[in-house]
């Protein structure tokens, strides 16, 4: 029980970039989980009863950068793109109006980084539940993304 562990850094919750608040009406989507150049996979959420988060990977097979600039769902009062950042990493905070998916690259939204935040869930999310969110890209438009709730 020796060797005291010294905390190295302060990570801290939160967030930010509000890319659009609760649009609940689902419009016709280009296709399910994919458009010409954008593919979204491994979308999952976690058990939650008020605030939830969706994590996923966005792949841009195109030759130009794409921007994720809005999100929506019917499961929560509002659906927003957020970022968690680390305070002690050296940078000051910055407000990001949209998330860039570079041409030919993938961006993974994962715990401790970017996530789609579900604010004011209408029902609890339980393991195995499935729902759909919409992500809007500057060029590709709205893409529907199936999400599964994984246990912690």
């Amino acid at each position: 029980m020796k060797t005291p562990f010294v905390a190295r850094r302060v990570a801290f919750g939160v967030l930010y970039a509000t890319l659009g608040a609760g649009i609940i009406v689902l419009l016709a989507a280009a296709s399910f989980g994919a458009s010409a150049n954008i593919t979204i996979h491994d979308a999952y959420s976690r058990p939650a009863n008020d605030m939830g988060a969706v994590f996923l990977t966005i792949e841009n097979a195109g030759s130009i950068d794409e921007q994720l600039d809005d999100a929506r769902s019917t499961v929560a009062g509002a659906t927003e793109v957020h970022e968690t950042y680390t305070v002690a990493s050296g940078d000051a905070m910055r407000h990001i109006p949209s998330l860039t998916i570079p041409a030919g690259k993938s961006v993974t939204l994962k715990p401790g980084g970017y996530h789609i935040m579900l604010i004011g869930l209408k029902n609890d999310l339980r393991p195995g539940d499935r729902f759909t969110i919409g992500l809007h890209f500057h060029d590709a438009g709205w893409i529907d993304v199936p999400v599964v709730v994984r246990p912690f």
Binding site: M1, F5, V6, A7, G13, V14, R46, A48, T84, G112
Partner: protein, 180 residues
């Protein structure tokens, strides 16, 4: 920048707790029972400060703690006292805390108190948090907050303080040392 510097100050201050008796306090758990730190002698106790509106770090950390605790043994989640202490008494209630902590483990405790009761606890544990400006988010205000996992041994001493980003194996290893 100010937030950055305050966070660094919190990180260095919290390490001074290691090897000292866990500062005592009495707060109220989600069932309305008093929870005092000095009353936990004989049990490994894990403390984590956060808020139930936390979208990412708090659930990630609590899920990790739950997983690590359950790996210790069949009744470990009952033996190890895991207490989530709110940084947000303004919005968190015993009900929201109960609903929240039990997502992770039925034995987890959510501790609340009045602002006056909580302030000295934050100070003693070098908990740092600040409300962030709301850039139009429907979430209301969010908090920037320190995110330490305090591990207190059966002897009532703070033996380890981990950052939530620390390697799961390191967190598991240290908790196991205290639990054995």
């Amino acid at each position: 920048m100010a937030i950055h510097l305050m966070a660094i100050a919190a990180a260095s201050a919290v390490s001074a707790l290691v090897g000292t008796a866990a500062p005592d306090f009495t707060l109220t758990d989600q069932a309305g029972h008093a929870f005092s730190m000095s009353g936990q002698r004989g049990h490994v106790t894990v403390l984590y400060f956060g808020y139930t509106h936390c979208p990412d770090i708090c659930p990630t950390t609590l899920a990790e703690v739950a997983s690590v605790v359950r790996q210790l043994g069949p009744n470990a989640d009952r033996d190890v006292r895991v207490a989530f202490i709110t940084d947000d008494p303004e919005r968190d209630t015993s009900k929201t805390l109960r609903d929240y902590v039990t997502l992770f483990d039925p034995w987890f405790l959510g501790l609340d108190g009045t602002g006056q009761e909580l302030a000295p606890v934050y100070k003693a544990y070098h908990v740092w948090f600040t409300k962030l400006p709301n850039h139009g988010s429907a979430a209301g205000y969010l908090l920037a907050h320190s995110s330490f996992i305090y591990m207190v041994g059966k002897d009532g001493v703070v033996h380890y303080v981990h950052d939530w980003r620390d390697d799961r194996s390191a967190i598991a290893r240290d908790l196991r040392k205290l639990y054995q």
